[in-house]
């Protein structure tokens, strides 16, 4: 062994990790592909449900629905903004693509919540689970998304479902982390008080920890939403449709117009979703009025009450009017 090899042993000694991984992956693909294919099924159903709902409803009704939701959550100002923004999306002629992307993002976020919140609770409660999850979450957050694009395609194929899967991998970590943080930040004395009044672990979680961690969990949902949206373009490389596909195709053909339009669609969608979740968050922080005493529901109950003639109902109107004044 010459001196050069001693000083730089890595020319001779190295671990062919890349080869191992490739062999391993091939083996998994060969033997377990049906298993991975079966995982696709529930995601596919969810995606189809969202997609048929969003693309099936006529744009005008959809815009109205968004407006009503925004009014209920955050008041009429935001409702006006959101209706305008969605109107712009329609005018630009990218309504269909936007709804496809939205259904993808919603499916991904829905699954992220279903996976992330319980995992976050688990890691907040058990330090062993936290120690186990931490390096995995670190990896998920730092590894470039292109790296897992290929294995996912090999295992799940191409299309919208694998797109949702890569989006989940990319967007899940902040939700888990913020859920954990939120639960750990519940004041110790509140936990103690719950225990002093005889709460079971289950009751402690549902009646104190989760409600108090809600602003933090919603911040996590907001993060997950934004990250899912930013994954849309990357995911379009594995044949995911929607706005990302527009951008990708636009770049490929040097069609600046198409790419920019798609980009603007993504930005508008991001603004709409962000504002909605942000205001849901600030509402979770300061609860002052029950949801049925605000926004369109209040108007609706008032209208219903005026049509009733019974004096008791009249009183009800009076009460809910007083409710708005607070």
């Amino acid at each position: 062994m010459n001196l050069e090899n001693v000083l730089n042993p890595f020319t001779v000694w190295h671990v062919p990790l890349g080869q191992w991984l490739e062999t391993g992956l091939h083996w998994v693909v060969q033997h377990y592909r049906p298993l991975f294919q079966s995982i696709k099924w529930p995601i596919d159903q969810l995606l189809k449900a969202f997609d048929s709902a969003l693309t099936g409803i006529p744009p005008v009704i959809m815009i109205l629905c968004f407006g009503l939701i925004a009014w209920q959550i955050a008041g009429w100002r935001l409702a006006v903004k959101i209706v305008t923004l969605l109107f712009v999306v329609g005018i630009l002629g990218i309504w269909g693509e936007t709804m496809t992307t939205l259904s993808l993002v919603l499916s991904a976020v829905f699954l992220c919540i279903a996976i992330g919140v319980p995992l976050g609770v688990l890691t907040a409660r058990s330090s062993r689970a936290a120690a186990f999850c931490r390096p995995i979450l670190d990896t998920m957050q730092t590894i470039p998304s292109f790296v897992y694009l290929v294995p996912v395609v090999m295992l799940f194929g191409i299309g919208n479902v694998p797109g949702v899967i890569v989006t989940i991998i990319f967007a899940l970590p902040p939700l888990i982390r913020l859920t954990t943080l939120g639960i750990q930040q519940v004041p110790e004395e509140v936990v103690e008080a719950m225990r002093a009044f005889g709460a079971t672990n289950h009751q402690l979680l549902l009646k104190a920890q989760i409600p108090l961690a809600l602003p933090s969990i919603l911040a996590g949902v907001n993060q997950t939403l934004m990250m899912s949206l930013s994954m849309v373009v990357v995911a379009s490389m594995i044949a995911v449709g929607g706005l990302g596909q527009m951008v990708l195709r636009g770049i490929g053909r040097l069609d600046i117009g198409q790419a920019a339009t798609g980009g603007i669609g993504i930005v508008i969608l991001a603004i709409v979703l962000d504002r909605l979740t942000q205001s849901a968050m600030s509402r979770a922080r300061n609860v002052t009025l029950a949801w049925y005493k605000r926004g369109p529901t209040l108007v609706l109950t008032n209208i219903l009450n005026t049509f009733r003639v019974r004096p008791a109902a009249r009183q009800g109107v009076q009460e809910s009017r007083n409710g708005t004044a607070i």
Binding site: E189, E192, A193, A196, F197, G198, K207
Partner: protein
């Protein structure tokens, strides 16, 4: 619910995860506290405390922060498990109870009030008060009725729909008190409940609490670092230092006969005049009537046994220094106070 007694039998609590120390060495003093901390990373919070709180009694545990008083009170509902020793509630050793039985006991028989209130900010005042009932799955209508009743008890009727954020500190702590009493528990644990409040509100709450506890007669362990508070509220006071109970006695005993230099220092600044009551200065009625003119007591004003210096002085002034009759709780006349008796009482204590 009938009152229970609480008995501590040689309770020890050592904090720290290290289990290699030998408790007997600590108990007989072979390992000092400094050694224990340095060698094992453990801290003795409660060191061999034994005492009994009688049914219906208010027992004040007094001590500075770090004296182990808050740790001690958490043994009663086993939020903290003792390292050694027993806690017996109403004749039953609670160390042997399972986690489920313990939860039941906490929800039904032990109410607790915390220094920092620890209300749930996302719930209305009513839902906060009804917490222990809700945890026992009592139907909403019933528990809300009970909550309203308890809110009335602490003079907060009509605040049930508000959120804790909308309340002042004193009101929050009254909600805390109502919450502790919602299940009508036999035992109340008060962990420095009024310490975080400003002096005026504190005084007001102390009065309210005294009034309430006279009415409800719950066995109470009341933690405080304020001697005045302990004297005002406690039937008996125990002074704690470094996890040990230095002296247990009536407020009068603690202040007039401190048995330990630390207790002496603790009570030094406190005025003994506060402990002057009609009972302590009066002459028994029979004795007084022997020497007094026959008609002197006709139309004399009446005072309760526990009337304090101010009340005595006021009433004596109003009856132009004539004798005042002291009557007991049943309304029976038992003694007489004159200005001369009062002055003698002040002289003894000044």
């Amino acid at each position: 619910m009938e009152a229970h007694s609480i008995e501590f039998k040689d309770v020890w609590k050592v904090f720290g995860s290290n289990r290699r120390y030998d408790l007997t060495c600590i108990q007989d003093g072979r390992v000092s506290k400094a050694d224990l901390l340095e060698r094992y990373g453990c801290v003795v919070a409660v060191a061999g405390v034994s005492f009994k709180v009688e049914p219906g009694e208010i027992f004040c545990v007094m001590g500075l922060s770090g004296s182990g008083k808050s740790t001690l009170v958490r043994h009663v509902n086993r939020l903290i498990d003792p390292t050694a020793g027993q806690i017996v509630i109403g004749g039953e050793n609670i160390s042997k109870k399972s986690e489920n039985e313990m939860r039941e006991l906490r929800a039904k028989s032990i109410g607790m009030v915390f220094q920092n209130m620890a209300l749930l900010p996302h719930r209305t005042v009513r839902d906060n008060v009804a917490l222990s009932l809700e945890l026992r799955n009592i139907p909403a209508k019933q528990r809300h009725d009970i909550a309203e009743e308890k809110l009335a008890l602490v003079h907060l009727s009509g605040w049930g729909d508000r959120y804790p954020d909308e309340l002042s500190g004193g009101m929050k702590q009254r909600v805390g008190l109502a919450r502790a009493m919602a299940a009508d528990p036999a035992i109340l644990l008060m962990d420095e409940p009024f310490s975080a409040l400003d002096p005026l509100i504190r005084r007001e709450l102390q009065d309210q609490f005294r009034e309430l506890s006279m009415k409800l007669r719950k066995t109470t362990v009341f933690i405080t670092h304020d001697l005045d508070e302990a004297v005002r509220l406690g039937h008996r006071i125990g002074v704690m230092k470094d996890g040990k109970m230095l002296q247990i006695g009536s407020p009068d005993e603690i202040i007039t006969k401190p048995r330990d230099p630390y207790v002496e220092k603790f009570v030094e600044g406190s005025s003994r005049l506060k402990l002057l009551t009609a009972e302590s200065v009066m002459a028994p009625l029979a004795e007084y009537s022997l020497t007094a003119p026959a008609n002197e007591l006709v139309g004399a004003r009446r005072l309760a046994l526990d009337a304090n210096l101010k009340e005595l002085a006021t009433v004596l002034n109003q009856s132009s220094n004539g004798p005042v009759v002291v009557s007991d709780r049943e309304g029976k006349d038992v003694g007489v106070v004159t200005t001369a008796f009062l002055l003698r009482g002040i002289e003894e204590r000044a």
